[in-house]
Point group: C3
Chain length 427, copies 3
C-alpha cells in the first residue's frame, strides 16, 4: 500500500511545472551537445578519478568528446552504486530511449550517436525544458556578466558574489569590477557605488537573487568603512593585504552586499560551509571539501541586522541541518534552501527534509534546486527529490499523522512551486 | 502487519499512568483558562512570528485572549505542517470534541467558546491529569519559590538554578537569594550556606531534582573558593565583574550545587547547549537558539568528581546525541533524559531514541518529558513520543531482533515509567 | 515482501567466506575457553558497570571464570536491550545450542558447562572460523610482536603504532623499540631506521596494514627532522618533553610511518576520534570516549602528501561520517572502513552505510570489521551488519531504484569480500 501511495504522490508532484531556483546553466549554451557534456559533469569526473582514473586521462588537452566518453564509460562500473550514476542513466532513459540498466563498453557508442543526433536539434534546450517541466531557472552569473543574448524570464539572472567578497585584492578582479562599473575603487564609498551599479544592472535584467558560497570559518560582521578605506588604499598602492586585512575587506564587502540586498529587495542566498581547493590534485571542480564544524550562530549579527532581507540558506553538511531548521523556525528572514552538493544524496535528503517539514513553517522552505550545469540534469535530480518527498509525505504525514492525500500534496506544492515564486518574486 | 503491531504497542503503552519528569507548569495555575493559553505557547507564537506575523501583533498590550486567538488562527495555516501544530489539534480533539482536521477562521470561535466552558470547570486540572494519565509532574521552580499552595506529591518541586549560576552578579538576584535565605553573601562560605538553605527548603517540600540549562561553551570546573571570595567581595563593593570573573563565579556556584546534590542525594538535571537571546527581536521565549559545536568532554571533570550524583542529561542538538549515548554507556552516573526542545520533533526523536535503546542500559534512560507550560500539552507530546517508541520497538526489536511483544513492552515500561521512579525516588 | 527480500539477500550474503580486516585477536589464543572470555568482553563489563555493578566486583583479583560469569549474568538484565547483549545471545544460540531468548540466573550454569565442553575441543578455533566463514582475519600487533607461532595467512599481522606515535617519550616504549630493532634512538635518522626495521619484520611475516587510533585533536603535519632531533636528544638526556615537544615528536613519527607505508606499499588504517582515559574509574578498556568535534580537514596535508598510500578510515562518531563519505568521494587514496566502536550500533550503521553506498565508489568501501577480541564475536557482529546491508539494499536499491537482486548482491560482495582483498593484497 505504502509503495502505491508513494507512487501516486510522486506522479502528482511530478506533473507540476516549476522554476529551478539555483543552477550553473550557461544561458548561451544551456543544454548538452554530446554525452561528453553529461559525463563531463564534475560528479562523474571526480568519482571516476577517486575510483582510480588519473586526472590527465580525463583532462587531456585536445581530447575529442567521444574519446572522453569512452574513457569515462570504461571507468563507470565502480560508480554504478552511486546516486549520481543513476542520474545519468535516468537522463539516457528519459531523453534518449536508452533501454538498458547500465552504460557499458558494449552499449555506449550507440547511445552516444543516438543522443548526439537528438541534441543536434535546434530546439533541444526547449525540448529538455518542456520534458523536465521547467518554466524557468536561476543562473549563477559572474558580477560582470553582460546578461544579454537570452530570455531573462526563463534564464533568470542571479548575482554571484564570491569573487567580490573573497578575491577583491586580486588585481584581475578589481579590474573587471572597474570595467563593469566605470569608477575608481580607492575607498569604501567608491566600492559601494560600484557594487550598487552591479545591482542596478542585474535588477534591470530580471535578477531575482544575490548569492554566495562561504567557507566554514566565515562570520559576517558589520565592517568598518574606515578600515575598508585603509585596506583599499593600501591595495591601490600595490601593497599585499595580510590575512586580517583580507578578512576585514571580505567582511566589509559582504555586509555592503547585504545592505544592497535590502535596498534592492533581493533575497541573499547563502551557501554555507565549503572549503575550496582542499585537494589541489583533483579534477576540475572536484577539489573542494568541508569542515563540518560550522554554526549558524556565526550569522547571528547578520540575521538580526537585516530583518528586511530574506536569506535562503543552504548548508553543506547534514549535521548543520538541525541548526538550519531551528534558525528558520525562529528567525523570520531565514528560509531553508535545497539540499546542497555533499548533502544531495537520498539518505541525507530524507533525514534533512523530514526534519524541515516537521518544524519549519511550510511557507519558509524552498524544497530543491538542481545546481546543474546542463539542462538535462534537472529531470533526474528533481525526480530523486520528489521520490523522497513522496516517501516522507506518505509515511510521516498520511500514515503517521492521518493526513489526506490532498493535504499532503498541498504541502508538496508549497515547497516545490509556491514558495519559490513568493520568496523571489513576491517580495 | 507492522502498522497493526505499532498500534497495538501504542495502545498498551498509552494505557499506563506515569510521572512527567520535566515541565514548566505553574502549580498554582496549571491548566489553561482559554485557547489563548494554548495558542500562546511559545512554539506557536514563535512559529507564527517566523512565518511573518509581527511581534507587536502577538504581544500587543492589553490584548484580550479571544482577540489573540483570532489573530494566531489567522496565521496558523503556514504552521500546519509542523508537528507542534499537530499537538494543538490533538488537544482540541482529545479534550474538546473538536472533529475537524484543521483550526480555521471558520471553526475557531465555536472551539474557543466550547473549550472555555470546559476549562471553567473547577476540577479542570484534575480532569486533564486524569485523561493524560499523569500521576505527577516535575515543576521548574525559581530558587526563591515558597513552594506552597499545592500538593507537592503531584506537583513535584524541582530547583532550577540558571539564575544562581549565571546571574549572581545581578543585584536583583543576590537580593532575592538573601531574602530567601536570610544571610550575607560576601564570601564563598556564606554563599555555600545560602545555597544549602535553598536545598533544605526544597527537599523539605518533596523536591526531587536540581536542574539547570547550560550554554554550549560552559565547561564545569572545580571552582577555587579564594577566587570566588575575591569576586564576591568585589561585587559586594559595587564593582562590575569582568567576563573571567563571571565565568569563575559561575563555575564556583555550579560546582557547589553539584556538591549539594551529592549531600542531599538529588539528581542534577543538565540541559546542555542553549544560547540565550540570539534573536532579541523574537517573541517571548522565542529568542534562544544554539551552537551545535558542544561536547560532553566538557563535563569530564564533573562526571568523574561526582560518582554519587546522577546526572540526567538532555542535549539540545541531535548531533550531540551519540555522545550522550556513549557517555551514558560508560559513566554510571550519566543518564539520558528526554528529547529537548529543538530535538523534540519526530525525525530527531526517532534517530536519537533508537540509538539510545540499542546501546544504553535500559535502566538508564528517561524516555520523555513534556517540557509543557500548561497541562493540556502532556497528552499530545507524550503521544508523539509513544508512537515513535512503538515504531522503533516494532521494527527494530520485534521484527529485526525477534523479540516478543511482551518483552518490548517491558522495555517501554522501563523508559517511560520505572526509570523515572527509580532514578528520582529510589536513590 | 520486503521482509522476505531482506531475508533472501541476507541468506546469500551470509553464505560467503570472507576476511575480517580488523580484530584484536590474540593469534596464540584466538578463541574462548569459557563463557568468561565472552562475558569479559569490555562491551559487557563496561555496560554492567555503567548499569551499577562496581568495578571491583568485576575485576576482583583471582576471581574464577565461573564466578565472574555468575556475577555478570546477575547484572545482565539491565543490558538486555542493547545490541551488544544480542551478540552474546546469538553466539550462544549459534555455537552452543542455547535455545532460550535470555541468559538468566536460571539457565546460565548449564550454558556455561555446555559451552566449556565445546570450547575444550582442540580444534575449537578452527570450528569457530569455519562456522563464521572466515578465511582469515587481521590482528592488531604490538610493534615488537615476534609474530611467531601462528599461520600468518589466517592470522594476518597488522602493525599497530599508537605507542610509537604517542608514547615514544616513555622510556619503556623506547627500550622495547631498541630491543626490537637493535639500534640507538638519539636522533631522527636512527629513529627512522628503527621504524624501517619494524616494517621489514612485519612485511616479512605477511603484514598487510599499518594501523593507528588517533585523538580528535591530532592534525598530521610533515614533521621537521631537526625539531625531532632536538626532542630525541633532550629525551636521551633525561629531560621530560613539554606538550609542544610531545606533539612535535608524535607528528614526526606519524609522518615517518606514512612514508614507510608508501615505501612498503602498506595501507595505513586511521581510526580517528578517540579520547583515552576519559573515565579513569571505568573497567578495563571501558575508559575511553570522544569529542565529536573533529574534522577530516585536519588530514588534508596528509592525504595530499601521500597519493600512493591508501588510507582506510574509521571515524568514531556518526556525525563525522558525512565528511568521510565526501573525502572518500574526492580523494583517490581515502577509503571508508567499517563502523567503529560507538558507531557500531544498528541505527548509526544504517545511516552511515546507506550514505556511503549512495556516494562513494563501490570499490572504495570496506564494509565491516569485527574489532573482536575473541573469535566467537565475528559471527554475530557480521550478521548484524549483513542484516542492515540487506535492508538498505532491498529498500534503497531494489525497491527505490529498481535494481535486480543479482545486482544488489554484487554490490554487497564488493563491500564485504572483494574490496578487502583488493585494497590489502592487490596493491
Amino acid at each position: 500500500m505504502s509503495r502505491a501511495l508513494r507512487q501516486r504522490l510522486f506522479d502528482e508532484i511530478n506533473s507540476w511545472t516549476l522554476v529551478d531556483p539555483h543552477t550553473h546553466i550557461n544561458a548561451l549554451n544551456p543544454a548538452s551537445q554530446t554525452l561528453a557534456d553529461l559525463l563531463g559533469y564534475h560528479y562523474f569526473t571526480e568519482l571516476a578519478h577517486s575510483a582510480g582514473m588519473p586526472r590527465d586521462w580525463i583532462e587531456q588537452h585536445g581530447l575529442a568528446p567521444k574519446e572522453l566518453v569512452g574513457r569515462l564509460v570504461a571507468g563507470f562500473a565502480p560508480l554504478e552504486n552511486t546516486i549520481q550514476a543513476s542520474w545519468l542513466v535516468e537522463i539516457c532513459q528519459a531523453f534518449f530511449g536508452f533501454a538498458a540498466e547500465r552504460i557499458t563498453l558494449e552499449n555506449w557508442e550507440a547511445l552516444y550517436d543516438q543522443s548526439a543526433a537528438q541534441m543536434a536539434s535546434p530546439d533541444w534546450p526547449q525540448q529538455v525544458l518542456a520534458k523536465s517541466r521547467l518554466s524557468g531557472l536561476f543562473l549563477t552569473n559572474d558580477f560582470d556578466d553582460p546578461l544579454t543574448g537570452f530570455d531573462p524570464k526563463i534564464y533568470i539572472p542571479c548575482l554571484r558574489t564570491d569573487d567580490l567578497v573573497f578575491q577583491l585584492a586580486d588585481p584581475a578582479i578589481r579590474e573587471r569590477l572597474q570595467r563593469a562599473t566605470g569608477g575608481e575603487l580607492h575607498n569604501s564609498s567608491q566600492l559601494r557605488q560600484a557594487l550598487g551599479k552591479l545591482f542596478d544592472h542585474f535588477v534591470s535584467r530580471n535578477c531575482q537573487a544575490c548569492a554566495i558560497s562561504l567557507p566554514p570559518d566565515f562570520s559576517p560582521r558589520r565592517g568598518d568603512p574606515r578600515q575598508a578605506d585603509a585596506i583599499l588604499h593600501a591595495i591601490h598602492n600595490g601593497e599585499t593585504p595580510d590575512p586580517d586585512q583580507h578578512r576585514g575587506l571580505a567582511e566589509f564587502v559582504f555586509w555592503t552586499l547585504a545592505e544592497l540586498c535590502a535596498e534592492y529587495r533581493l533575497p541573499f542566498d547563502l551557501m554555507i560551509g565549503v572549503n575550496r581547493g582542499v585537494y589541489p590534485g583533483g579534477v576540475y571542480q572536484g577539489k573542494d571539501l568541508f569542515d563540518s564544524r560550522v554554526s549558524l550562530i556565526q550569522y547571528r549579527e547578520l540575521f538580526n541586522a537585516f530583518p528586511q532581507v530574506t536569506f535562503p540558506i543552504s548548508v553543506l553538511a547534514s549535521v548543520t541541518n538541525q541548526e538550519l531548521v531551528s534558525y528558520a523556525w525562529i528567525f523570520p528572514n531565514v528560509v531553508t534552501n535545497g539540499h546542497w552538493w555533499y548533502s544531495n544524496t537520498p539518505t541525507y535528503i530524507e533525514h534533512d527534509c523530514a526534519a524541515r517539514l516537521e518544524a519549519v513553517p511550510r511557507t519558509k522552505q524552498i524544497g530543491y534546486y538542481s545546481d546543474m550545469y546542463k539542462l538535462e540534469f534537472a529531470l533526474p535530480k528533481f525526480a530523486m527529490y520528489k521520490r523522497i518527498l513522496a516517501k516522507i509525505l506518505s509515511e510521516r504525514y498520511i500514515e503517521d499523522r492521518g493526513w489526506s492525500e490532498e493535504r499532503a500534496i498541498e504541502l508538496a506544492r508549497d515547497v516545490l512551486v509556491t514558495n519559490t515564486e513568493r520568496i523571489f518574486w513576491g517580495r
